[in-house]
Assembly symmetry: D2
Homo-oligomer: 192 residues x 4
């Protein structure tokens, strides 16, 4: 079995919904088991991260970058960094915020730079943008037009239950894509 871990923080439940969708996508791939880990509970799961072929990171964008609780996890992973314990694992990312752009790209870049410090290999979203023509709409997959990872937007006056289906399907796509690449990559490692 190819193991995937999704580590996330969520302040008000929106990013948790996104994380569940990523998890659902990853778990839907044959030969893959996926584990959904909240940063609040990560100290019970460092071993799961060690054993994963791919780790998918996600957090809300607060004030232009990843939320502080998620950064706490990133800083704690410096222990792993010293021994380069995640070297050559696959990585990917997702983030949510209240506005369309909302500087979410800065959070994904922050995750990429972090993954590179851990000597990981970054898997892009792998979708063309939607919602970018006169016939497009917010119902399109990848309606925000992201490439470096999955983005979602949640209205600031609504709860997680109002999240757009298109954003959750985009997150699900990311999980599935990473799982497929991870399965392939692991097969090659075993064969090597």
């Amino acid at each position: 079995m190819t193991k995937i871990a999704i580590v996330y923080h969520s302040g008000y439940g929106h990013t948790a919904e996104q994380a569940k969708a990523v998890h659902h996508g990853a778990a839907s791939v044959n030969g893959v088991t996926a584990k959904l880990i909240s940063v609040a509970d990560v100290d019970n799961h460092w071993n799961d991260l060690d054993q994963a072929e791919a780790i998918i990171f996600g957090a809300p964008t607060y004030m232009g970058s990843l939320s502080a609780p998620f950064k706490g996890f990133m800083d704690a992973s410096s222990k792993v960094w010293f021994t380069q314990g995640w070297k050559d694992k696959l990585a990917a990312g997702f983030t949510n915020s209240g506005s369309q752009s909302g500087d979410k790209l800065n959070s994904l870049v922050q995750l990429m730079v972090f993954a590179n410090q851990q000597s990981m290999i970054w898997v892009s979203l792998g979708l063309m943008p939607g919602n970018n023509s006169s016939k497009g709409s917010a119902n399109d997959l990848n309606r925000i037009g992201s490439y470096s990872g999955a983005m979602s937007q949640s209205n600031v006056d609504q709860g997680a239950e109002a999240m757009l289906d298109s954003d959750l399907k985009t997150a699900e796509h990311l999980g599935r894509r990473v799982a497929e690449v991870a399965r392939q990559f692991q097969a090659a490692r075993v064969a090597a």
Copy 2:
């Protein structure tokens, strides 16, 4: 008079519309003259840039960063960099692309890093995000939710005439804001 220069590149006319809106906003401020300069014509205007209190930079986002013709202008400005000729001038930026996020933030960061190399002072957009609640819409000012500069989105199957009024008004706001800060800044320089 406080002088403002807007230097821009436009591939298909969308960013030119945005640039005109920025220019209109800047020129609307009392005591300010604003000059609109296409990068194709910039070699006739290095002197205007030298004399400006603020320079506002704009280009489309192509493949995740500023268009090559605009980068050509940035590279040519290394002559100015050697003598730090733009030191302490104000700077600001705008960009257009076909999708909502479309990595436009990366272009604005590229402009900020560039402005910092020129020892300039960066003026943010100064608007709260629109289009981020159940009552919001694409007609809101700053509907894309940008902070570092003005963003616009233009449908890939439509010309510049179809650009959203809200995006052009957001660009106009940026021009006006920079002109107001520049006028204040210049008054301070004269008084010092």
Copy 3:
């Protein structure tokens, strides 16, 4: 008097030395009072931040971005963001890490994006790079070659007392530069 606030986090004392140098530079300017605030103590100082003409932000770069305790402060400032309480204040930044590049630019970009969310105006370092020719050395001012803010590098096996004088003088320069621009800017606000 023109008020400057320096808000910083330091894990092992290196960034605290850098912060002190920034403070020293700012306080050396006539007509300026500068306050040095640790993020651990920031809850006693929100009022000082409200009254400052400029806020200079600094933190170590951990795992490629600003340390989690500093991000906690940034997230807490979302209360200020709602009312845009820091709008039009000047901002600047500094960061330290164990290696030469060490992704410190990512931390400065994170600070710039944050400052833009707060509708602030970003002051660049304003120094040409040192240590970039056959006659240069690590004793040069701005030996790391930064533009967006002040960078320092501290050896991972040495304490804060071993920090290079050139890095501290670069930090001091940033404080002085921001104070001078702030004094000028404030005079203009009063005159307007």
Copy 4:
């Protein structure tokens, strides 16, 4: 055979030396053929890029981001983007500038964002930083302390022949690492 392509621009020869070192590293891996392509000549090599398992991108950092000629190549690749012709290929990057940091990270981020638009998979440098302790020196591998790709620094008053061996060995490492990952990845694709 696993095919690797290195596409680069060089203004004064320094980045060309770095590109040669990357090429040498890639070509040293069993079962790999590597092709070195100047952007000036890229129009004869789009087919080579199509057939490569991995493409390594490199250019000097001018005024804080990739050189304009290299950006011209990136913009021209929008034809590939429309059909997602490089989807799932591996990508990596390198850059040179005159100062230690010199905003080179911004160029590597620009390349990562670009590679993500092309739905590629980004391979990090995979080296711990050198030159970051009291016993370190500029002779250390990865002396600049980069993670997202290979960085080199060349003195502004010296030609390419004066480039540090440590920087070239770091570039060589990147080429070798990408080739090894590419070989593994290709084996997995064939087996799938």
